[in-house]
Symmetry: C4
Subunit: 251 residues, 4 copies
């Protein structure tokens, strides 16, 4: 058994593809975007990654099928550039694991001829927000203009604590390996799974990659979350209402 | 010293054997079943597994003999299919350790010609239960009919947190390696060592494998546990009795 | 840099030597015994062990010399059997580290022709004790008679939690590798560095190995500790005195 | 990807160079000194060290450029001995990582012909101090005279807890590998980033290496910190003032 095992599920030729990564993280923003792309497009599962660097567990499906912790690459063919979408339920369980898995993910990207990497995530604001800006960090100055045209904001030294985990390393290691890599982070409270923040990030991707995305499922999920938030606020505030209070993380 | 060291204690030829795993876990259900099989049958210790992935310790026997943390494989010959039973006092101490030990356990299973794996455990209900259902998760849809015939229930996305540790990986990694692997989990409170839950799992194995098991020792132990529980309930409730309160984990 | 680096400081031929290990642990009993042997005998530092498995630190001496975390083997020639004494200020910092360092220690023992291993330590009683029994655990039944003659007690399944760390593994791995290995543990409160428990263990070693040890330094240290304990008891009890209360760990 | 990756940024010949290390630690004293040297001198970035032993993250610059966690070596040519200055934002994230990174740092030092190593840091006093002594620990007795002449104090068994992390290992491993290595630690409260303690260490380096350093920027930063401390003391003490109270760590 290798430390990282990349299973070839399907062989697909992609045209000038872009890697789009969305693994679990702040507000699950990246994961929501990546899964929405996979579900709403004609997508093909091309690679499955198993690794002892993931948690030692299986998840059980609706049909009681146990499946080993993994990450998955899906191919999506598009009018402009094709997409290679990386998503899954897990990140590495330790520091070195993040480096080694990210390196393996970049190997897969290389194999498909990817040159550009968009690592998606959320940036926590600490309070509920109405308008979800998309904040960017890039490996190279030259990438900024095109991203700003697509709606990305650049803010000095933000996020102030840096970017941790796969998204950060895709940009950091990616730049070292010659990829044009950027991190696109939707503003989000940090307390809730945030489909509205995911929508904001998706709109940036639409602009960047000339995609046309159907937002319906995401908007429905956003409406559901808003109902949940309202109920929580009513419960917390009682008759004498305050506003914008901290909420526990739910989703 | 290798990371995992498999000591050949005896050489035995097994006929179409099934691997039955019961290591420590929820309610010690799996371990109780595996040890009951080994003690109540004519069994032969065939392999002993030592590993730096286990805790760095020895246990001291009644005769003051110190023995190194290990897992053991016992062979049991039976009228229908023979059994290879894996049990012990420890699981791996870190995430990668679970992957590497499980892989080594499957190597031993391979060596004996095993094709089917039953990973035994408990599924916590959070309260004391009278009736102990046996819940299943499988690597492949096709396995479900035979298991349902033997008394196993399949419930969508249960256990909801997935299955962690050796049992989960035996199914997850096992399926990847071509084994027919299933996890059979007895319902149990999660607070107590649970011989009654173990009996329920054993009855499923009887049906599945055509075994005849003497339950006496297990039933005695279940009676003892019931006395303990009653005493605890009386102590906790005092004269004004409540019911079904949380109990600390004892065994 | 290797994971474990064994520096040859001196070459000494030993006659039928016994390994005596005393690293930090419960009551620092083992370490006190090993250091007493090294200081009170004509001893020669023969091997120094450095390893990334120790904590990443240096200690600073009275002369402000920084020295890297290590373990040391000292040779002591004796009328009956020679001694190879292992001591130091550290144990491994993780589980695998314990296995790998113990294995390396046994390699050194092998190199010097050691066949018998005495791993010294303390067994916690949870209260201050006057009489310090020495409790034993062995790799093999046949070792018990000689140890009992020397004053060692054998108690079923004690210590009940097993023996963790280097001492436990010296017996567990040692037995696997063919050494006659035993753990000798002085009873001690578990809260204090315990020179009196160390004296009890030393007396057993005197009997076992035909040594003659000068106890003066150890007895002085025991007297100092007793003064400390008395002062603490007076401070804690005030005018209305109780007895045998729990004490924080000091030394 | 290697565990430690040393990128050659520039090739520079250095004359009898000294390694000066200042990574994050107590009061950030070492890091302040190293960064001050790099910023106030004509310095050249010569090596960049990336490693999976660092935290898995990128930091985001004022221009929103994400850069991978690293450590950097800068060359400074001087009238007397040239300097190789090691600094960065991170230390290793686990015990073994400290050993392996330090070993790699010493490899770089070797490559540049370094024979002397000064590992800089702070020694915590637990209270605000006016006079910042510089305390030393050396690999070899013979180094002490020259350091004392330069203003370093040697105190028996200080720091009492030893020296942990890269600074400690540079001396400990460095001495094993034949370097003349010393740890120079400025006294500091341990609660605040301490530019005044850094100035004290820099003055020692001036004496030792015949450097001329412009202290202006460091003095300005010290003044700023003093304002912060005064404000905090006023806030904490209110009208009825006390003195020397504990402060939280800020910088």
């Amino acid at each position: 058994m290798d430390e990282v095992d990349i299973e070839v599920v399907a062989d697909v030729e992609l045209d000038d593809p872009v890697l789009v990564e969305g693994l679990p993280g702040v507000g699950h923003v990246g994961k929501l975007v990546a899964e929405h792309l996979v579900e709403e497009s004609e997508s093909t599962l091309v690679r499955r990654v198993h690794s002892e660097l993931f948690p030692p567990q299986v998840t059980v499906s609706e049909e009681s099928i146990a499946s080993l912790a993994d990450a998955e690459f899906h191919a999506i063919e598009s009018d402009e550039r094709d997409l290679l979408v990386l998503t899954g339920d897990h990140q590495a369980t330790d520091n070195r694991g993040h480096y080694r898995l990210t390196d393996a993910f970049l190997d897969v990207a290389d194999e498909f001829g990817v040159t550009d990497v968009y690592a998606l995530g959320g940036v926590p604001t600490g309070e509920l927000v109405e308008d979800h800006a998309v904040v960017g960090a890039v490996g190279d100055e030259a990438q900024k203009d095109a991203l700003e045209d697509a709606g990305v904001e650049f803010r000095a030294e933000e996020p102030s604590g840096g970017i941790v985990g796969t998204s950060g390393l895709l940009v950091g290691l990616g730049a070292e390996r010659g990829f044009e890599a950027a991190c696109l982070m939707g503003e989000t409270s940090g307390y809730l799974v945030d489909p509205k923040s995911a929508r904001a990030v998706l709109e940036v991707l639409e602009n960047l990659l000339g995609l046309t995305v159907d937002f319906e499922a995401l908007d429905e999920r956003a409406d559901e979350m808003e109902d949940v938030v309202e109920q929580m606020q009513q419960m917390e505030q009682g008759p004498s209402a305050g506003a914008d209070e901290d909420l526990r993380y739910i989703g």
